[in-house]
Symmetry: C2
Subunit: 413 residues, 2 copies
Amino acid sequence: MAVAVSPLAPKTYPDLPPVDGVRFATGAAGIRYQGRTDVLLALFDKGTEVAGVFTRSKCPSAPVDWCKTKLEGGKARALVVNSGNANAFTGKLGAEAVKTTASLAAKALDVPQSEIFLASTGVIGEPLDASKFEGVLEPLRDAASPDGALDAARAIMTTDTYPKVAVARTEIDGVPIVITGIAKGAGMIAPDMATMLSFIFTDAPIDAPVLQSLLTRGVQGSFNSITVDSDTSTSDTLLLFATGAAAHRGAPRIKTKGDRKLKPFRKALDALLLDLAHQVVKDGEGARKFVEIVVEGAASPGAARKIARSIADSPLVKTAIAGEDANWGRIVMAVGKAGEKAERDKLAIWFGDIRVAYKGMRDPAYDEAAVSRLMQADKIDIRVDLGLGEGSARLWTCDLTKAYVEINGDYRS
Amino acid sequence: MAVAVSPLAPKTYPDLPPVDGVRFATGAAGIRYQGRTDVLLALFDKGTEVAGVFTRSKCPSAPVDWCKTKLEGGKARALVVNSGNANAFTGKLGAEAVKTTASLAAKALDVPQSEIFLASTGVIGEPLDASKFEGVLEPLRDAASPDGALDAARAIMTTDTYPKVAVARTEIDGVPIVITGIAKGAGMIAPDMATMLSFIFTDAPIDAPVLQSLLTRGVQGSFNSITVDSDTSTSDTLLLFATGAAAHRGAPRIKTKGDRKLKPFRKALDALLLDLAHQVVKDGEGARKFVEIVVEGAASPGAARKIARSIADSPLVKTAIAGEDANWGRIVMAVGKAGEKAERDKLAIWFGDIRVAYKGMRDPAYDEAAVSRLMQADKIDIRVDLGLGEGSARLWTCDLTKAYVEINGDYRS
C-alpha cells in the first residue's frame, strides 16, 4: 500500500550541521527485506556521556532492557539501530540477539560492550536473527561520516512518511554549542512515550547525571505530551549523547544540574524536543490535522492532564475533527468521562478564538459557520476552561481518519 | 449516509410477550425532524417498583440528574423517552426542559411528577424545546398497548442499525414471571456504561431496594463489561421496572435481597442483561466482528479487568481485527501499556484455540495460516494468560473499521 507523505510534513528540512565527535553510517543487513536500508550506526568519540528515557510498558523490548542497564555507566561509544524487527516479546531469544549484536559491534568497532547502545523497531514477536549483523558493521565503521544525520533519520523510518530531524544552536558560557536530533514514530504513539525512537546529539560537555535530569524534565512537556492513538509501544527509546567536544573550544564542563551556565542549553534542548515531538504527531498514521489541546482551570495539574488526555484520545473527538465538524458536545463527553472533577455549569470550550460553550450551555453568540471555517485549517486549537482551579495542561494529537484504519487494518481478507 | 444493518445483527427477533401492568405507545413530537417517531411512552400500573443505574460521567445529562432524584422514591408510573436531542450540557435550560416535560406528562397521565422517569438521546448541547411534548402525550396515553415493546425499541434508536430486544421467562416460588428488555446504543459505548439507554420490564413483585441490588450486581458482567470506542456518554440510563402484577397470580413479594426465591429470577435477569449488552456491541458503529476478550492469571481481578480493557480499547488491536490480521504483537503492546503487573516471559496468548505466544515468545507450533482462517469468523476470541495469579476478567468489544470513522467523521468538507 503506497502512503502519501503527510500533508502536515515540514516543507523543508533544516541543514543538519556536524556535531563534533559524532559520525553516522547506514546500511542494509537484510533484517526483514533484502536490499533495504535497515541499519544505522552512530559512533561517538571517547568521553561521550549519555542519558535516556524509555517506554513505561510492562513488556519492554530486549533492546530497552539492554539500554537501561548500560545507562548506569553513563558512557557511550556507539549506537546500533535496526528497523524491520522490534526484537520485542522475543523472550530469551531476544536477550540473546541483543548480546550477539553487542558482541559483534564491540568487535567491529573495538569499544566495550557496556558502551554500546541498541534500539530496534518493526514487527513485534518475531525473533531477530542477529547473525545478520555479521560483516555489516565493519564497512559502516569505515564509511561513518559527520554529515550523515538526515540519512540516519531516513534509516530508522517504518510507517513514517517523512524523516524527522531538528537542530538547535546555543552556547555554554559563551562557547557555541550545537544540538541535532532525529526521531521516528507514526503510530502506537501515546504518553509515555510513543512507538518512538529519538536520538539527540550534542558537543556540549555535560556529565551524564546532569544530562539525565535535563532529559527527564524535557520530555514531560514534549514527548510525554503527545498522543496519536493512545497505544504505547514496547520499544520507545530516547537517548541523548553529549560528546563534550566543545570543551576543546573552551566550554566548561557542567557537573551539577543547578549550574546557571546550563540555562540556554536547557532552553534549546527543550525546544528541540518539542519540535521533534510535534513532527511525530504530524506524521501520525493517516493524520490530516494537527491538534493542540489546552485544559485550564482544573482542580490540579494532574487533573488537567488527565482531562486533556481524555479529549486527545477520544475516537469520537478525533473523528469529528477529521470530518471538520465542530462537535463540541463530544468534548463535553470526553471531559465527563475523564473521572476528574468537572462542573457542567462552569465549563467553557473554545475552538480557536471562538467560544462555543459557556456556563453549561451553548454560547449564545456561537456561530457555527465561523467555527466550521476554522475547522478547515491544518492546525486545530481546542481550549477547555473548567472554572475550578489553577491546574493546566497542554497536549498535542492528530485526527482519526479512514487512512489510520487502512494503514493498521492490513485488510488481508 | 445510508448505513446497512450490522452483519452481526440477530437473524430473528423473539416474540415479546406482554408484561402485565406495562403498556407502550410511540409517536412523533418533531424534536429534531418532523414526522419521525421520536417519543416513547411507557405506562406502569400503580405499585410499580423501579431501580436504575446511570452514566458515571461528571457531566451527566439533565434527564439523568432527574431520574437519580426520583429513584429515591422507588415508585414509577411512567417513562418518557425522546430521541433527537440528548438534553445534555444544556445547563439551566436543560433542567427547565426536564421539569416542563415532567409537568406536561403528570398532567396528561394524571400521575405524580415524582413517579415519572425521563431519558433523552441524540445531539449534545442543543437546548431541548420541551413545549414540543404539548398535546403529544394525551393521544399516546390513549393508544398505549401491552404489545408495543418492539415498536418501543425502534422509537429510541439513533445510529443503531437494528432494534435491541430480549425476553426471559422464569419463576418466583413456582409462579411464572416474564422479563422483557429493550436497549439502544451503538457508539460512545464504554464502561461504565455506554451511550446506552435500556429499559427492563417485569411483572415480578420485588421491592425497589432489592431490585436495585439485583441491577447493580447484574450490570457488572454485562453492560459494564462492553466497550465499542472507549467513549462514555453523558446520558447512559438503565431502568428496571417491576409491576408486581404476578402477585395476583400468587407470586410472593420479595422484600430482602437474600431471599432464596430470587435465585431463578436473578439468573434470568443476568442473562437478559448480557443478551442486550452483546446486542449493543454487535451494533457498534461500523462493527464487523464481535470480540470476546478473556484475561486470566492476573495478579488481581481489578488488574485483569484493566488489562482486558486496555486490549479492548486499543485502536491498533481493533484495526488489526478489522483487517483479519492475527497481530498478537499488538496484544502484547496493550498488555504492556495497561500499567498492571505483567511478566513478558510468563505471558501466553490464544486466538480461539490456537496458542500464538507462550513464555515470552512466539509459540513454536504457531501456524499463521490456521489463525488467519480463524480471523475470518464473525466472532473472535482472544485469551491472555498472565501466569501470575488468579485474577480474571471477560470483556466484549468490536473491531474498528473505516465505517466507524465515516459514521462519526461526518466529512462535511
